[in-house]
Each structure stands twice: as structure tokens, then as C-alpha cells.
């Protein structure tokens, strides 16, 4: 019987407690994308939920200035490569979006969670990743 190592509900409950849960391969020791059942690297089904490192590096970003309904622009979305080897998308907070520049790429960040804004289409999505620049 193949197990689903990390349900979205459990990922969100972890994040609410400040814990970043990923899907880790006991065979090749790599993290796979959160929804994986087979390891993205070696194909093994020996995956289990495991906390990952809460630091990373900004790979790219944008400042959203025309937002979807229910959101106030501007805000920053960034793609971060975590020190545990997986990428994640989140909001870069703690800086003025108008000051965002190419210099952000390569900067180190701390990773945590926050409650999402209410959204009528995704009522069960409750957590979102947040990045903050390390001093």
C-alpha cells in the first residue's frame, strides 16, 4: 500500500505552528515537491513528511501592481531556493515594494508562514509562505 506522505491539511497545520513540512526520501535523502507520492529524484515510495530548514536565498521576484480580487497591491512575490534544496513561492515582507530591485536576487531570507486572506474560491487554503530578509 503506497502512502501519501504529506496531506495539504497537515502541511498547513505545520505552517501554522511555524514548522515547514516537506516530503523527504529515506532512500536518496532529497526533498520532493509537497504533493509527491513517488520521489522526484529516484522514484522511491519511501517518502515521509519531514521539517525542512527555514532559511533560503531569493532566486527571483516581482512586485504585483495589478492584483486579483480581494488583494491590495503592491506586494512582492518571490521564488526562494531553500537551504534544504527545494524551491518555494511566498511573499517577501518587511520591505517597501517600491524599493524592490534586482539587488534582491541572491539575498538570504528566513521562511515562515502566515494566515492567507479570505478567498471565496479556495476556502480551505489557510496558510501562505512569508520571506523576510536576514540582516
Amino acid at each position: 500500500m503506497i502512502k501519501q506522505p504529506l496531506l495539504f491539511k497537515d502541511y498547513q497545520e505545520g505552517l501554522a505552528k511555524g514548522e515547514l513540512l516537506g516530503v523527504f526520501c529515506d532512500k536518496c535523502h532529497n526533498f520532493s515537491f509537497h504533493t509527491s507520492v513517488y520521489c522526484n529524484h529516484c522514484g522511491s515510495t519511501g517518502l515521509s513528511a519531514k521539517p525542512y530548514d527555514t532559511t533560503g536565498v531569493i532566486r527571483t521576484f516581482t512586485v504585483i501592481r495589478v492584483a486579483a480580487e480581494g488583494r491590495n497591491a503592491p506586494f512582492i512575490v518571490a521564488l526562494v531556493l531553500g537551504n534544504s534544496g527545494i524551491h518555494m513561492m511566498g511573499n517577501l515582507e518587511g520591505i517597501d515594494p517600491d524599493s524592490a530591485s534586482m539587488g534582491l536576487i541572491g539575498k538570504k531570507v528566513k521562511i515562515s508562514g502566515k494566515k492567507t486572506l479570505p478567498d471565496r474560491f479556495s476556502p480551505k487554503v489557510e496558510q501562505c509562505l512569508v520571506f523576510s530578509l536576514e540582516d
Partner: protein, 391 residues
């Protein structure tokens, strides 16, 4: 596999329509049937692309209602396809596969979409639904935002000053508007300047408003059949000589945003089946939903080396009259318009008309082999088709 051909093609004028999705598709379908000398009773299956009818009109299950409106036989099934912006190309590819394998002889495929019926905040929200709802969408990422992140990564990876990249991206928009000015079906039939692009407001840094495709209404329909039957329907059939389709996950699982891997895989399938290389392609309709997307596509499809395609439009190499492959002679998604579920069929319509020599002022001279490239979501689907004219 049997040889597969396109007999008839048609599209509505893209823009803002008072017609419903169903009415727009009927308009295109009737024209495509007429061009193929077919009646509804000859159609063995309907493959209808539609992404967001649920939100645009409160209309799910659209294919069955289109089936009734066109008057197709009850025994000819009607299916709705949804693969984000790649939807109609996927529907056409599936039709080609089933005709090629002998399941059907004549399939009507295409798509319809009425994006402009939604206001901008709702349209922006529904487009973002093609991103992963749990791991991407909660950040408030928008579709311009995804490609904006790709643009920043491109500038960083290839050490190009972001202002220089913005200017080169603006040239993509200017070139596509130049083509659309000659296309009576395009949403924006007027030229713009680089300065106008750079002076337009910022949507998602570094993309300006005029780097972005519009919200559009429109439909397009294509008749797919065997070579033998096509030759009875028209003296100018166009052949589908290669197809490819690949799937990726969310962007965080394909994190080098300058290399859309599903495109490289899908294009390789299509080139291999067709027995051609990028150098054999005379023209290409590709997925320029944002100007950076065209730059990524001309590299991913093999027309340019990675990191070398960014100034192709600025240098005039992708414009009508170029010796290299002409990119988006229709005006592309940027200026022809992007009714997402119909887009792929409209790309096919442009290539078919070009290969028949019917494109008037924007005709690519001597065009024999054309390429269709359509991308869905945050790089989750890419579908490619290679078409060839009748000798």
C-alpha cells in the same frame, strides 16, 4: 498512423463580443464547415476548448450545448477540454491523434472564451487558478507576475541590465502590433512605439501594461480529417506532420524559469515526428502572453540559443520579411488577442491561412512549414503542432 489534414479553419474577430461563448463558437464552426463543404451530420466528434465559462457566464458543460446549437448528430460525442491557455491546441492534437489512429474520420475542434465578460479583478483571479491553488496562488501571484519573475531571472542569469531587457521586450510588443495592424481579425489593429510601451503603467515589475496580452473574447474552429477526405473537401489541405505535448508541475517544481522544460520536451517530440529541425520552420505562432514569453519561446523552440533571443525583435529578425522564422505574423496573443480557450485554434487558423497563401499584406512569402506553440498555466502544459502546406 494515417496522414492527418486540416480542411477548414475559421475564427471570430477577437476583442469584446456581445455574443455568448456558444454563439461565438457557432459562428466560427459554421464558417469552418462551409469552407470544408461539410454539413453538421458529417461531424463525428466535437472537441471544444473552454477554460473559464463557469466564471464568465455561469456555464459549465459547454460542449453539450454547443453540440445542440450546431446541430451535430446525437451519436457524435461532445467533449470539453481544459489545459489553461494551451486548451485548444490540446483539443486539436487529440483530434489529430484519433483521426490518425482511425477512430474518427472527421472531428470539429477548437475553442471559445469570453474573458472580457469578467471585470479585471475577477479575470485576474480566475487566470491565477491555473497556478497551484495550495502552493502558488495563496501568495497572490498573477499570470503577469509569473512571467515577470521569469524576466527578472532571465536578466540575472544572462547578466543583462534590466532596463535593456525592458527595451528589448518592448520591441516584441511593437513587432506584434505591427503584424496585427495588417490582421482584420486582431483585437488591436494599430501600431505602437517602444516609448509607449515603456511609458505604460507597471503591471508586475518589470512588465509594463503594453508587455501584456489583453483580456479577449473570441472563438476559433478547425476541421480535422484524413488526407484522403481532406482532398475531397478542399484543394488546399494543410497537413499535421508532427505533434508534441508535455506536462510540468507548478513553477516551484521547474524553478529555472528561463527554461520551460515541458516546451523543450514537446517540441522535440513534434520535430522528431515531422522529421524537421528549427531551421526548416518558415513561420511560428507562439505563446507571447507577455513579451518575455516570446523571448523564452524562440529559445525553447530552438530558433535561438538560450540567452541569445532577447534582442531578436529589436534586430528585426522575427518580423515579417525576415530571412529567419517569422514569429507571430498574426500579431500574436499580445495584439491579436488571447481568449484563452480559443487561442490555440486561432494560432492554427493563422498558420493554415499562411500556408495557403491567403494572408494578404502579412503573408510570409513562400511559407511551407509552420509551427504552433501554446503554453498553459505556470508552465504546466505545452502543446506543439507542425503544419505543412499541400505540395
Amino acid at each position: 498512423m494515417r496522414e492527418v489534414a486540416i480542411a477548414g479553419v475559421a475564427m471570430t474577430r477577437f476583442g469584446v463580443s456581445e455574443k455568448t461563448c456558444i454563439e461565438m463558437f457557432c459562428e466560427a464552426a459554421c464558417l469552418a464547415l462551409e469552407e470544408s463543404k461539410l454539413e453538421p451530420k458529417n461531424i463525428e466528434a466535437l472537441f471544444l476548448g473552454n477554460c473559464l465559462g463557469d466564471f464568465e457566464e455561469g456555464q459549465a458543460h459547454m460542449a453539450a450545448h454547443v453540440h445542440t446549437a450546431i446541430g451535430l448528430p446525437m451519436g457524435s460525442p461532445a467533449l470539453r477540454f481544459e489545459n489553461a491557455c494551451a486548451t485548444a491546441t490540446v483539443a486539436i492534437r487529440q483530434a489529430a491523434l484519433l483521426v490518425g489512429s482511425g477512430v474518427y474520420d472527421v472531428v470539429l475542434a477548437g475553442g471559445t472564451e469570453r474573458v472580457a465578460a469578467m471585470d479585471t479583478p475577477l479575470a485576474t483571479r480566475t487566470f491565477a487558478m491555473a497556478s497551484h491553488s495550495g502552493y502558488s496562488a495563496p501568495t497572490g501571484i498573477t499570470f503577469p507576475g509569473v512571467f515577470a519573475m521569469a524576466a527578472h531571472m532571465y536578466a540575472d542569469k544572462y547578466k543583462i541590465d534590466i532596463r535593456e531587457l525592458q527595451e528589448c521586450m518592448a520591441h516584441v510588443s511593437v513587432k506584434n502590433h505591427f503584424h496585427a495592424a495588417m490582421n482584420p481579425k486582431a483585437q488591436f489593429q494599430k501600431e505602437i512605439s517602444v516609448q509607449k510601451v515603456l511609458d505604460s503603467f507597471m503591471v508586475a515589475d518589470p512588465l509594463h501594461f503594453l508587455d501584456c496580452c489583453p483580456f479577449s473574447d473570441g472563438a476559433s474552429a478547425v476541421v480535422i480529417t484524413t488526407k484522403q477526405k481532406a482532398l475531397q473537401m478542399t484543394d488546399k489541405p494543410v497537413f499535421i506532420i508532427g505533434t508534441g505535448q508535455a506536462a510540468g508541475g507548478p513553477v516551484i517544481n521547474n524553478p529555472d524559469m528561463t527554461r520551460i522544460k515541458p516546451r523543450e520536451v514537446a517540441a522535440a517530440q513534434a520535430y522528431k515526428q515531422a522529421g524537421v529541425t528549427p531551421f526548416d520552420i518558415d513561420l511560428c505562432e507562439l505563446h507571447d502572453c507577455f513579451t518575455i514569453a516570446e523571448i523564452l519561446a524562440i529559445e525553447g523552440l530552438g530558433f535561438y540559443e538560450f540567452g541569445k533571443g532577447y534582442d531578436a525583435a529589436k534586430n528585426g529578425e522575427t518580423r515579417l520579411g525576415s530571412k529567419k522564422a517569422v514569429i507571430n505574423p498574426s500579431g500574436g496573443l499580445k495584439a491579436k488577442g488571447h481568449p484563452i480557450g480559443a487561442t490555440g485554434a486561432a494560432q492554427v487558423t493563422e498558420i493554415v491561412e499562411q500556408l495557403r497563401g491567403l494572408s494578404g499584406k502579412r503573408q510570409v512569402k513562400g511559407a511551407k512549414t509552420g509551427f504552433v506553440d501554446t503554453l498553459g498555466g505556470e508552465f504546466g502544459t505545452v502543446c506543439n503542432l507542425i503544419l505543412r502546406s499541400h505540395p
